[in-house]
Symmetry: C2
Subunit: 394 residues, 2 copies
Amino acid sequence: MEDAIKYAFDFERHMTPEKFERFKAFAADKETPFVVIDLERIAEKYDELHRLLPYAKVYYAVKANPHDEILKMLIDRGCRFDIASVFELDQMLRLGAKPDDMSYGNTIKKARHIAYAYDRGIRLFATDSEEDVCKIAENAPGASVFFRILTDGSGADWPLSRKFGAHPDTIYRLVLQAAELGLDPYGISFHVGSQQRDIGQWDHAIATCRYLFDSLAEEGVHLRMLNLGGGFPANYVSPTQDIELYCQEITRFLEDDFGDHAPEILIEPGRSLVGDSGVLVSEVVLVSKKSEFNQYSWVYLDVGKFSGLIETIDESIKYPIFVDRESDAVKQVILAGPTCDSMDILYEDTKYEMPADITEGDRVYIFTTGAYTTSYSSVNFNGFPPLKAYILRE
Amino acid sequence: MEDAIKYAFDFERHMTPEKFERFKAFAADKETPFVVIDLERIAEKYDELHRLLPYAKVYYAVKANPHDEILKMLIDRGCRFDIASVFELDQMLRLGAKPDDMSYGNTIKKARHIAYAYDRGIRLFATDSEEDVCKIAENAPGASVFFRILTDGSGADWPLSRKFGAHPDTIYRLVLQAAELGLDPYGISFHVGSQQRDIGQWDHAIATCRYLFDSLAEEGVHLRMLNLGGGFPANYVSPTQDIELYCQEITRFLEDDFGDHAPEILIEPGRSLVGDSGVLVSEVVLVSKKSEFNQYSWVYLDVGKFSGLIETIDESIKYPIFVDRESDAVKQVILAGPTCDSMDILYEDTKYEMPADITEGDRVYIFTTGAYTTSYSSVNFNGFPPLKAYILRE
């Protein structure tokens, strides 16, 4: 069963025609491929999240897009940061972020990296295993720790699998162990999976957390924080509910489970903050057919899976794509990248509709590419340089 | 159905114990992760291929590993080069390779890149579509062109799909078209897929080429070259036939189909030349269990899918892995990388046996990592720097 992504491109969902003209004008004289990032859009998203979840501390997931300009703008706005490595830590410190405003959110870390972070003032760590708890106790004595429970990730476009988190029963033991080892068992975290479509996933996770809070309180350990992770959507092809509804429902789940005794709430948005801010500008390299009887044309772009569009693996993330060409007729195409690697196909099962007369040299605008693109680009795949990024200026 | 990769590590298949000691000593004081490349091994492989296929011109697929030292050594040895982009062309020219010794093997290329390559002396281009033939005729007038036929890639660990090549009937038309446009229709190429296990795949492809040679001769177009592509194996976990047998059989297929009138033969080895030369040195970051009842431990390394081991996607390439630890007892583990990305799992369906007491800080040696690793590493995934490479020295 094959889907086709219609070409009836709904600009209203993405930006005003005036804003798109700004993007186009800014991009006009630059060699493709590159991403243009609109900082205003990220600021709007950040403010919106603050307005919708006023009680939550926002820890931006730096890995989603670690561009200096994005991070500086968010520091200025009072955002906090979730870091995945000591390399991200170094970057944040260089940009002036305060250690108190950061969490080391990766459950996989070398002992010497924990010590390195602790030396630089980091006092908040994520964990999900006995071995890691012991390492934190030894290398970051007395630090606050939050414990990540395993969720099944169903309903997410980019699910999180069993790699992270542990079963609630295991977490229960870990919390007690951390307390014994002199750490501060601060709270529980979960991650429902990136680009999560099923808001009910938060309900179940929050209820599990409430159960852990209660059963640990009986042992004299009083957790004080609940980290709701990420999973808020960005604006890809398949529509999601509005962020308002996500926030409203999550607030209701919290009230249902915790009433007036809500713990401190943290969230770790990445994709939802920066995804919509980016437009990737690419150029058509070649349009061809594999045989005269072939139903579909192949459209090869100058950007591919290994130069920024890694999340097209298994065609998981479906980016909205616009070709700036007046054309009523459309055809369904297979989209692929420019390298000699056969894996470097963007969409083959899912056909995209494109203008029927699309041809080499046409500029192609790939929307919602502000998250998980540039930093995921390969250094030198087939000789192609990494994907460039620009900040949109007047 | 789950396989388990036995830990009975067969050093004989990879290198002498003395050579491994050289690797270890060289690697001892360096911060993981990194790949160590043994140039001698590549030279041996190159010489071996020359000996086994003395009639073939070897075009090294630069994309497999574009390290300057590898390329310089191969230039000195008289190797030719297949390039995937103008960026690889620039690199080769910088290193002193001659344009006559290169083919532009990517069937996907911008018109201005064809012109750029032509200006720098490139006279041999691969193609598989009408649109590309027209572009070559316009931007590289009179150049020699070879035409890539579509193969189905079955039998290959890293198959090549329908992205490249065209149906023989389409190729027939393309050859005539190229001749009309003033190009030199030089030959036919195919690629049976990387790490191809079924030698018979070459038989079928060569027979198809013979058919094209004959039918085009009837039209007065006399092709003079046959490019057998790559597909020769490197030494991963699953054994393949010896390279001797591949070469012997391919020679027999050529004799069967072309007799005494064999055309010029080109081959484009990448993986088989450089794969075995590399040892990736990694460190165990964490060993953990997801619950107390879990059968398998998770072993997290400081290298992962997006820092060099991209070919573990779908667990396609199974690298031989050695842990330098005396231990009779083994256990089956799930191997994963260090990032916060759930895709960054190396082997989960296929369990690897590891020493039962494997623990944080253990050095792990991943063999046969000389091809398709370093240059495929991401620039900044989760803040982690790209995979480093060293050339083995005394």
